[in-house]
């Protein structure tokens, strides 16, 4: 079979919906050196990113040592300047495919140092960067910058940074709009925003699952399920100021996540779902039965239920998620 006919067959299968991009890429990777090459690439990527993190720690320690000896202009130069330099190096290195993840590693440095640099610049200019309006501006600028470089290089790490800055922008903008309004001052306001962010992450993870960005799915499923279920559990409150709606809805949400874990073959969702089911059982037992049954008996019942959750998780993992 020659190359042209193989490519035509691939096109036919894709058009018929019988071949996904993920399957095609898996076949490509299998032929292009298999697991060994992939593992080597992964090790070098991890080392690049660890190196980026260590560089950031070094920059912060160095700046902290000499901070008081520097003037306003130098404060901006060492923080914003370092961030911009790292961003520029990231752009230049990302243009050379042979350097692997070196470019994204410099983008990691930029993503960690640039927020500090922009905050220092605003502070030195006489503004108050801790205010929501300025936080909104900083996060939107960084989200725009990282979305732009993502459009150029299509790197998953760049999309992750852009999502991170977008999340920060969401909290800052909503805080800015709410202002000092006391109706939006209660802890519930934070919980509802975390719930929305969690739901958004879960939907984005699902959207990325069958695309070249599928590596982000696991991370987004993990953070999304923890944020979504964590916020829903917190919204339930505690007796006597509990919210009955959220306490009743929560088991449904957990089982929806467990069902989704099986359907989507996601271990992260299964782990989060079982963890929060266990947390919910403990909470409900402590909240409603510790007074009537007494703590020792309530603990025995909770322990039995936790064992049940453990068994359910194991069964689901073995039956549906084992390759």
């Amino acid at each position: 079979m020659d190359k042209q006919s193989v490519l035509e067959s691939v096109s036919t299968l894709v058009a018929a919906g019988e071949l996904s991009e993920a399957e095609l890429m898996a076949a490509y990777r299998g032929g292009a050196g298999g697991e060994v090459a992939e593992r080597q690439t992964r090790y070098s990527t991890v080392l690049y990113f660890i190196g980026g993190g260590v560089v950031v720690i070094g920059i912060v320690a160095l700046i902290a040592q000499i901070w008081n000896d520097l003037g306003s202009v130098m404060h901006v130069v060492v923080t914003l300047g370092s961030g911009l330099a790292a961003f520029t190096v990231g752009v230049l290195l990302s243009r050379r495919q042979t350097l692997g993840a070196a470019g994204p590693a410099f983008f990691l440095i930029a993503a960690l140092v640039l927020p500090l640099g922009l905050a220092v610049t605003l502070d030195e200019a006489g503004f108050q960067p801790e205010h929501f309006a300025w936080q909104s501006l900083i996060s939107l600028v960084l989200m725009g910058a990282f979305t732009a470089v993502y459009q150029l290089f299509r790197s998953n790490s760049l999309l992750l940074y852009a999502i991170g800055f977008a999340t920060w922008a969401f909290f800052a903008i909503t805080g800015w709009i709410a202002g000092p309004n006391p109706s939006f001052a209660e802890f519930e306001f934070i919980e509802y925003r975390v719930l929305a962010v969690g739901l958004s992450f879960l939907v984005l993870a699902f959207a990325f699952a069958d695309t070249p960005r599928r590596e982000l799915s696991g991370i987004l499923y993990g953070f999304g399920s923890m944020a979504f279920l964590g916020a829903a559990l917190a919204l339930g409150g505690w007796k006597p100021s509990q919210n009955v709606f959220w306490e009743l809805v929560f088991p449904g949400l957990v089982f929806a996540v467990l069902y989704a874990s099986v359907h989507l073959k996601s271990r992260v969702l299964l782990t989060a779902g079982s963890g929060f089911l266990a947390a919910y059982l403990l909470k409900i037992t402590g909240e409603y039965f510790s007074d009537s049954l007494g703590w020792p008996l309530a603990l025995v019942i909770s322990g039995m239920m936790l064992m049940g959750v453990g068994y359910l998780t194991l069964r689901l993992k073995r039956r549906y998620l084992s390759e």
Binding site: F171, P182, S183
Partner: protein, 175 residues
């Protein structure tokens, strides 16, 4: 012909959730009456700002009273602190009008925290952290609040900026 780009509905929903949340919060802030079905507040209220020079100002049997100080108990006012001033806040117009003690003492006042139509005056909140998750009470801003409805009070506080911290509610004005 250029192939049409397929729109990923799931991606749009994922990106749209935070945007919808922002729009809903903005609607709740800027169009509170649409979100919370609460009738307009009816009761104006009396408040003071400034330093009382040792006078004790209080409401008794629905009337404003001013008790003269014993001279040895009078502490000197702090620099920049203004004398005691009385204001009536008109809730419908959200404006304040300065009145003298004689006019204020003619008013019939209800000095309970809740107005007869169920509104209360609440402090605003502010964030003191870089990451906007935590907040504390803002003693400079006050809101009229009932159920899900809140409206920022534009209180007249005189010349000194310190007066914004020293607003004292005296009572709801009953007709």
């Amino acid at each position: 012909m250029k192939p049409k780009k397929k729109i990923d509905v799931t991606l749009l929903i994922g990106l749209g959730i935070p945007v919808v949340m922002i729009v809903l919060i903005a609607a709740a802030i800027y169009l509170p009456r649409l979100v919370a079905n609460v009738e307009e507040p009816k009761y104006d209220f009396l408040y003071t700002v400034g330093y009382a020079q040792g006078y004790r100002c209080f409401v008794e049997d629905g009337r404003l009273r001013l008790e003269e100080p014993e001279s040895e108990c009078v502490a000197p006012g702090l620099p920049g602190m203004e004398e005691l001033q009385f204001f009536i806040h008109r809730v419908k117009e959200n404006t304040s009008e300065r009145v003298n003690f004689e006019a204020a003492s003619d008013l019939h006042l209800d000095n309970t925290a809740l107005s007869p139509d169920g509104f209360e005056i609440a402090y605003g909140r502010r964030s003191e952290f870089f990451f906007p998750m935590f907040s504390s009470r803002d003693y400079r801003t006050r809101y009229l609040r009932k159920d899900g409805f809140t409206e920022k009070l534009e209180l007249e506080v005189g010349e000194s900026f310190q007066n914004a911290y020293n607003v004292t509610f005296l009572g709801w004005i009953e007709e």
